[in-house]
């Protein structure tokens, strides 16, 4: 486990860092995107660009519209207005599976490891080019057996990397919560994506496992992929994010490198809180009590 700080990408933006700022090399662009549920405006993004090859964090309080925006970008929901572009290609009217085929893969907040399939089957499902998945192709084993063997090799390699190889024949249901997160990430990589979108990847994962998950996310960047993730864990954000986008009440309120954004007062008030660096034992006055020794 490397203890050195990851190398951050710089120079991602054009001009001053502010909400909606243009990027030097954007992989994803969205303009005038709105989504209303009844009377509530969940998302109202004037303009946003996601830089290619970097790790971008999308943060903000609950109800800020992060997951809704995520769903809009990945086709799991359609916007009321607006345009979205992925690698220059318009995403209007595209369904989630079509967008996934373009090279965008996403994970879910509530892990979707398919428990009734084995770990290996989960992985093989991620492959995008298996001819045997077509109905006619499936009936002629000669067509798909060879591909299946190649896919299996690739899957096993990834499983080894994510330390899940020993569990490859087990049903995914028998994996722990953290292992399922790893499986979902590994499976997503089987699709050979260019943009990996992670929805709260650290949710419910205990701190010790967080480090290895972070290493895996950093590896994605090393391999040339772009990462966009939603998170509440500020330490993760500060540690690996090259760029931070802050959403509140459906709008983008701040953008920039993590250190810069996390110092903005508005962001602190609405989201980070002023105790980020302080020990709550001090804030609540408990430390004195404990040192006293009288309490017990």
């Amino acid at each position: 486990m490397s203890n050195s700080e990851p190398v951050k990408a710089t120079g991602l933006h054009v001009g001053e860092a502010s909400p909606g700022v243009a990027k030097v090399d954007p992989i994803l662009k969205a303009s005038n995107v709105t989504r209303k549920f009844g009377g509530l405006t969940a998302v109202n993004v004037e303009h946003v660009e996601i830089p290619r090859g970097a790790i971008t964090a999308l943060i903000g309080p609950n109800g800020a519209g992060k997951t809704t925006f995520f769903n809009l970008l990945t086709g799991f929901d359609s916007p009321d207005t607006g345009t979205m572009e992925f690698n220059g290609k318009s995403l209007s009217g595209m369904r989630s599976h079509q967008i996934a085929k373009l090279g965008q893969v996403r994970t879910f907040q509530l892990t979707k490891a398919l428990s009734l399939l084995t770990v290996l089957e989960n992985m093989k499902l991620g492959a995008t080019d298996q001819a045997g998945e077509k109905i006619l192709g499936s009936l002629i084993p000669q067509i798909w057996r060879k591909q299946e063997a190649e896919i299996e090799k690739r899957a096993e390699e990834l499983l080894r990397r994510f330390k899940l190889y020993e569990k490859k024949e087990d049903f995914a249901a028998s994996l722990s919560g953290g292992q399922r997160k790893l499986l979902e990430m590994a499976r997503a990589l089987m699709t050979n994506p260019t943009l990996v979108m992670l929805d709260e990847p650290m949710a419910g994962v205990n701190p010790a496992l967080t480090e290895s998950l972070l290493e895996h996310v950093l590896d994605l960047k090393k391999e040339g992929m772009t990462v966009l993730f939603v998170e509440h864990d500020m330490h993760m954000v500060r540690h690996i994010a090259d760029w931070v986008i802050v959403m509140a009440e459906g709008e983008i309120v701040a953008e920039g490198p993590p250190d810069q954004v996390m110092k903005e007062q508005a962001v602190i008030d609405a989201y980070l809180g002023s105790h980020q660096e302080t020990d709550l034992g001090v804030v609540t006055g408990r430390i004195d009590i404990i040192d006293d020794g009288e309490k017990k």
Partner: protein, 240 residues
Amino acid sequence: MTQPVVEIKDLYAGYLPGVNILNGANLYANEGELIGIIGPNGAGKSTLLKSMFGMVKIREGSIELNGENIIGLKANKLVAKGVGFVPQNNNVFPSLTIEENLQMGLYQAPSRFDERLEFVVEIFSELGKRLKQRAGSLSGGERQMVAMARALMMEPKVLLLDEPSAGLSPVRQDEAFIRVSDINKAGVTVIMVEQNARRCLQISDRGYVLDQGVDAVTGSGRELMDDPKVVELYLGNLGA
């Protein structure tokens, strides 16, 4: 030496037949203490908490409240005996107002409503201003508040909290932890399961690190935070 308020000895429990999540777990809480339970996923933290509220099948071991065995008691009896439970999810009634949610908390002793409401609103001042608001329109952090307030309505001696900071933004998490500390200072013994180990230990008097269904490490909150083994295995090096 007075008897602990809660004492769990050698507990074996689980949900599915033949599969134990807890494999001989031990825990005790003295009156007025704030106990934190941390540990990896699947360690049995939530299960330990739920077994104190009769929600898990107990296979072996004992759970005592003020010296009295409470295994097998139904939830309403436990509440009457002074145990309050705040679940992680689905913890408010969205179609009811905040006031009505609090009334639900005092279901067994409705005449004490005004008295208890005064106490609860002191800790949760924000709620006092919004009693008529529908709970369904509240954000996650606000619902957490209502759920905790509701559990406090019956004046519990022991409050069980299942991951009170889950899914909350950093500022709301800090608020939640400060609130828990305030509740504890008001005299309620608190047993809290948490994923945010760092914050949890910062306010805990004593903590337990649960791993594979047993209490692997225990000590004061500070001791655990400084213990290098605990840091390596459970807390992680980030944000130390």
